[in-house]
């Protein structure tokens, strides 16, 4: 079928079926819905007046999209209402004769194409959150299951149904980000199946489209006075607002008629004498956060009860002025998270984790969320006491949030926003309250620099090792003294240099040596300024030998005094062997200048059986490995300190959660400890 003119059976005026897909057209004269049946036309009802909505589209607009979609014309408008909200779906006709629906859902615009229907469960058997495998179409999640009434229309429609008919439908969200609609009409079986992709308003290339800011200026109720307190209310989103909570007295305004969209006149629904809470960011504020320009429309104080205690947080409704999407700014204990809607089909969730676009989020809280108070303007009929089931999953700095109601499930995903960004972005005169504790998705302050800390430590450690290697290679390590002494008189505790006793030299001077137990060596030379390692070894076994030592520089007379000892004890006590002490001890002398030195020892031991010998070895210019170990240890202290800082930070974060970091419910919170499906 193609474009065709006919006479309205109701009033006689000319009606035009402007596209091949047009099965019904609405008479402009009398608002009769005229259906064509073969060569005849028939009036199937009278449509009601259109409800003003915030949609940017108009019948008659032409589009030349930049990419992805062929040129089309908007030939009709279907207006639907669930009783809680009214919205438009736009019938677009392509030059090929094909048609699609241009719809608004989840804060975005979607181009929905009709496709052959796959086998699906009956409408009554669908539940929000349910997974559907639609074969070649892929995996989908039921995001919404509702009934909507066809309340009005304009132009041409691609189906025949009397005005006022009620349609059952389910919106399904694809794992690839697509959106589908299962149209069940007014019976259990599927009448139509539509799948579409998100389209950007700016990419559609629609001529004559008005920006949101221009449309709101033309809306009917842009400014009004509160019927309760008389306060002047200036609406920021008048073309979509269905509920207002007065910012001066808190009274709730809206329409008493259930199925209307944005009312032409706001009536008093609930009178309050004072605002129930004070938003930290003033209602109506405009600002830029994370590169997006927002208008703050309303604030919702929510609460959950746990263990008899109420916990409160605030959610601010934002309108992103370019995309016209509704976003949320959630505040809890001074911590802020900016959240935007995401397709339910793109999220896979279980008891412990949720996955979105490859990122795994850990469950943080799962509680009923109750609307405790509202302020500002809202695009749905919000009411106090409205309850949803809320689940928060975190992967700092990101958060994934799920809200489940009877007929729908909504996911939002967002990022932690420092309060300073909001203060600057909204040009706030009063600073926001300082955050307390650690926020659910607050990033650890050093998350961005921890890697650089380790990299810095690695570079410094590598340099330290290189310095040690170079020092080892170039250091003039030289043994300058190495002598062994034998015990020649155990009673008098006299040791003499090995070889002297055997040669008889000691025997010759025995009397003098017994009286003078001091051992003085021939001078030795150190080649350059450096350290001296003095090693002292004796085969001690449950005895000890020590020696007072003096290193004397011949030229200056400078003396370095130290003590050398070898002691080794062992035994069995209570059936367990033990040992202590050491046969070998080392003493380090610092920065000994080049020169001639004399070492003087005065050995001693009060053991009845002193060791039979001891050895003294002096080495010059020895690289100190222990120094390298100390340096490496000190260098990793910084990054290790960061690890402790992170552990402490995460501990404080999860102390606010009902779940452990593994996703298990804490014992104090209940018994649920399920596994992910």
């Amino acid at each position: 079928m193609s474009a065709r003119a006919a006479q309205c059976p109701n009033c006689g005026a000319e009606v035009l079926f402007s596209a091949g897909s047009s099965l019904v057209t609405v008479c402009r004269q009398c608002r009769a819905a005229v259906a064509r049946k073969g060569v005849n036309v028939e009036a199937i009802g009278i449509v009601a007046e259109l409800v003003p909505t915030s949609s940017p589209f108009k019948v008659g607009m032409s589009a030349r999209p930049k990419r992805g979609t062929k040129p089309f014309r908007i030939v009709g408008r279907l207006q639907l209402s669930t009783g809680e909200g009214t919205w438009d779906e736009w019938h677009v006709a392509f030059e090929s004769g094909a048609y699609a629906w241009l719809a608004e859902a989840q804060g975005a615009f979607w181009m929905m194409q009709p496709l052959p229907a796959p086998p699906v469960p009956e409408w009554e058997r669908l539940d929000p959150g349910q997974r559907l495998n639609l074969g070649a179409y892929g995996l989908f999640t039921v995001a919404e299951r509702r009934s909507a009434a066809y309340i009005s229309a304009e132009g041409d429609l691609p189906f025949v149904a009397p005005p006022g008919a009620v349609f059952h439908y389910a919106d399904i969200s694809g794992a690839d980000g697509s959106l589908g609609t299962l149209d069940y009409g007014d019976d259990p079986g599927l009448d139509g199946f539509f799948v579409g992709r998100k389209v950007e308003l700016s990419d559609l290339g629609i001529e004559g489209i008005e920006a949101w800011t221009d449309r709101k200026a033309g809306a009917r109720a842009q400014a009004l006075n509160c019927p309760s307190c008389g306060g002047a209310l200036s609406l920021k989103d008048p073309s979509a607002t269905v509920r207002i909570a007065c910012g001066y007295c808190g009274s709730l305004l809206g329409s008493k008629e259930k199925s209307e969209g944005p009312p032409s006149k706001f009536e008093l629904l609930e009178r309050l004498s004072a605002v129930p809470f004070h938003p930290s960011i003033p209602l109506g504020s405009e600002g830029t956060v994370n590169g997006h320009h927002y208008v703050l429309l309303g604030a919702v104080l929510k609460k959950t009860t746990s263990g008899g205690t109420d916990y409160f947080w605030t959610e601010y409704l934002l309108k992103e002025t370019k995309s016209e999407a509704y976003h949320w700014l959630a505040e809890s204990n001074g911590h802020w998270t900016l959240l935007a809607p995401v397709a339910a089909g793109e999220v896979a969730d279980g008891p412990r984790y949720a996955t979105y676009r490859g990122e795994r989020y850990r469950v943080f809280n799962r509680n009923p969320a109750v609307v405790d108070a509202v302020l500002g303007e809202f695009y749905w009929a919000i009411r106090k006491g409205e309850t949803t089931s809320a689940s928060d999953y975190v992967a700092p700095p990101r958060m994934l949030s799920k809200e489940e109601a009877k007929a729908e499930v909504n996911w939002t995903e967002g990022v932690y926003v420092p309060k300073a960004d909001l203060e600057a972005g909204f040009s706030l005169k009063e600073m926001l309250p300082s955050p307390t504790g650690v926020g659910a998705c607050q990033p650890w302050p050093h998350a961005g620099t921890a890697g650089r800390w380790w990299r810095t430590a690695g570079i410094l450690a590598a340099v330290a090792v290189a310095v040690f290697v170079v020092a080892t290679l170039v250091a003039p390590r030289k043994v300058v003294l190495d002598r062994t002494f034998d015990l020649v008189d155990p009673k008098a505790k006299v040791w003499t240099e090995r070889g002297l006793a055997a040669s008889g030299t000691w025997q010759a001077g025995k009397a003098a040596a017994a009286a003078d137990r001091v051992l003085v060596f021939e001078p030795f030379e150190t080649p350059r300024r450096g350290n001296l390692r003095v090693e002292f070894f004796a085969p001690t076994s449950n005895n000890w030998v020590g020696a007072g030592a003096d290193l004397i520089e011949e030229a200056t007379g400078e003396v370095r005094s130290f003590y050398l000892v070898s002691d080794r004890y062992s035994g069995v006590d209570g059936g367990e062997s033990w040992s202590e002490g050491s046969q070998r001890r080392t003493t380090w002398l610092s920065q000994v200048p080049a020169g001639r030195y004399v070492l003087r020892l005065e050995p001693e031991s009060d053991s009845p059986n002193p060791p039979a010998s001891f050895r003294v070895k002096v080495t010059s210019g020895v690289p100190r490995f222990a120094h390298l170990v100390v340096v490496l240890f000190l260098l990793v202290l910084g990054p290790i300190g960061l690890l402790f800082s992170r552990a402490s930070f995460e501990g404080r974060r999860w102390s606010e959660s009902d779940f452990s970091t593994s996703g298990a419910l804490k014992e104090s919170s209940g018994d649920d400890d399920g596994d992910d499906s």
């Binding site: 330290a464 310095v467 003085v520």
Partner: protein, 55 residues
Amino acid sequence: MRKLYQVLGAGLLAFFTYAQLTGWDAAIGTQKNTLPAGARNAGGWRSYHFWSGGK
């Protein structure tokens, strides 16, 4: 904070290099003294009386 760590780390590395090249050590348990001028004659410090008796 990281800047401070870099500065302290670089300082530590500089001192480590100095210690390795000059033989610096904490030298715990050693004492420095200088012999009286009278003891600096040849062999003076070899005298047992200088170190123990004869004081």
